[in-house]
Symmetry: C2
DNA sequence: GAGTGGTCTAGACCACTGT
DNA sequence: CAGTGGTCTAGACCACTCC
């Protein structure tokens, strides 16, 4: 025997899926829905909570519950890394034309808002272990938000860590004013003689932290995809650790593995 | 001004993180916690709901709320694909020794329970598009659950699709009794003359469907990681589409990209 | 200011776990 | 069967959106 809120949710879910409520339209008020289904408002809210978690509806305080427009997620492929590396050696004006984010989203530079903040921090135990440096080593921490101009909440957020001593030779790299840097991190590293030879992506799914839920404007009971990118230079040294976080519904990662032929 | 349940959750969260409640121990009863924090039971439950979503606690009806033991997630790397391919040509007894799942988890064959179910279905529009075959084409659908013997709920679940006409030449491939097949899917395909040349992984994060939440025994407001593996043979034909689903907290995917040298 | 969702309370009853 | 979490009700008041 399933619960009342489960049955109410199932009914509403199927009605939405069947197109009985069009995308971007408002559902009846919670008090009305509750009356129609013969449950209290609290129980009705519990049912709507499930649909919210599934990404079927958006709740807007004071305005109503809206059927969510399903946007196709941005696709991020492995090839971007080689593409980024190849571009490092292009002239500056070509690099400036468009970055990797524009490539993934298919949007123009003008459609995107880019925010960066630099701070210097001592390495936590966790990050230090990845870099294989002592805890407390001076790091440059760069926090990013990427936002579509047309939207309030960012598409994604992230942080990148560099070892201060690796990059201090070029003071331009310490200044957030130079973001977005044409050519991206691989070009930045190239200005201090670092060539990236290998990149490891570690992918995890979890619910957002309270901070992330706030910044990304997503419910606490939704999913985020976390990508930790670890860049290793041609001498085997870890030169960048970057964590990128997207709402699960907005991103698809794609990885291509070529296998060696038998013959 | 944040809400009461937020503040209560934040306090409990920090106490758990600080080790004030050891892993696997029971928290005080909800009625007691509510009294201590000066809120009603309903509000207390709402705070606990947040910690549940974050994976900090487990709720067990009738027994209590338990601080969750953080298990290190299983790591699944790209190298598994080449490894699997290399094994196809080994003698049967060596292949039988251990499969890819055992390799990822570091567990023995005896610690794992493997369940497979085969059915034949007509291709849905969505799957047909990936295979690039007409909708309704006959497919073999193989549903899997992998479970640690010591646990009730499966570690992960998944479904694999093969085009019936590709594999019908070998009747052994149509029978779930032959699972787990030594050497895995790549070996199965090799018995009908198919050599896999390329594998594309598509990774997505979302909340579980009601079904998945039930089978995996996870809350509806948690995250699952979904991997769609698309295998392409050496002639460029899609030969397998497989969806694997894990609770987000139990899996980490790792992908290694080697970049071409500049010189 | 009317209408909407968000928070919180108080309390009843049910379902499950352990002893 | 005592104790625990799960469901549901009824109603008050607050915060926000939009006209």
């Amino acid at each position: 025997m399933s619960s009342k809120y489960d049955r109410v949710a199932a009914d509403l879910r199927s009605k939405i899926r069947a197109g009985r409520f069009a995308p971007d339209t408002r559902l009846p008020a919670e008090t009305d829905l509750a009356r129609d289904y013969g449950v209290t408002v609290n129980t009705m809210r519990r049912a709507l909570e499930l649909l919210l978690q599934e990404g079927l509806i958006d709740k807007r305080q004071g305005a109503g519950n809206y059927v969510r427009q399903q946007r196709p997620p941005m696709v991020r492929t492995t090839e971007r890394y080689q593409w980024e590396k190849d571009r490092v050696r292009l002239p500056a004006d070509e690099r400036r034309a468009a970055g990797a984010t524009e490539r993934d989203t298919g949007l123009n530079r003008d459609d995107l808002d880019f925010y960066a903040e630099y701070t210097q921090i001592p390495a936590t135990a966790e990050i230090a272990a990845v870099f294989n440096v002592p805890e407390g080593t001076r790091l440059l921490r760069r926090v990013y938000h990427t936002r579509k101009r047309s939207e309030r909440a960012p598409m994604g957020t992230g942080a990148s860590y560099l070892v201060y001593d690796h990059i201090a030779r070029n003071p331009d790299l310490l200044n957030a004013e130079n973001e977005p840097w044409p050519g991206g991190t691989q070009h930045q590293l190239s200005t201090v003689g670092i060539e990236v030879g290998e990149i490891v992506d570690e992918v995890v799914a979890r619910t957002p932290t309270p901070d992330e839920a706030l910044v990304l404007d997503i419910p606490s009971g939704s999913a985020v995809l976390v990508l930790r990118k670890i860049s290793i230079d041609t001498t085997g040294r870890v030169v960048e650790v970057a964590d990128a976080i997207w709402p699960g519904s907005r991103i698809k990662l794609s990885y291509n593995t070529k296998l060696k032929a038998w013959n």
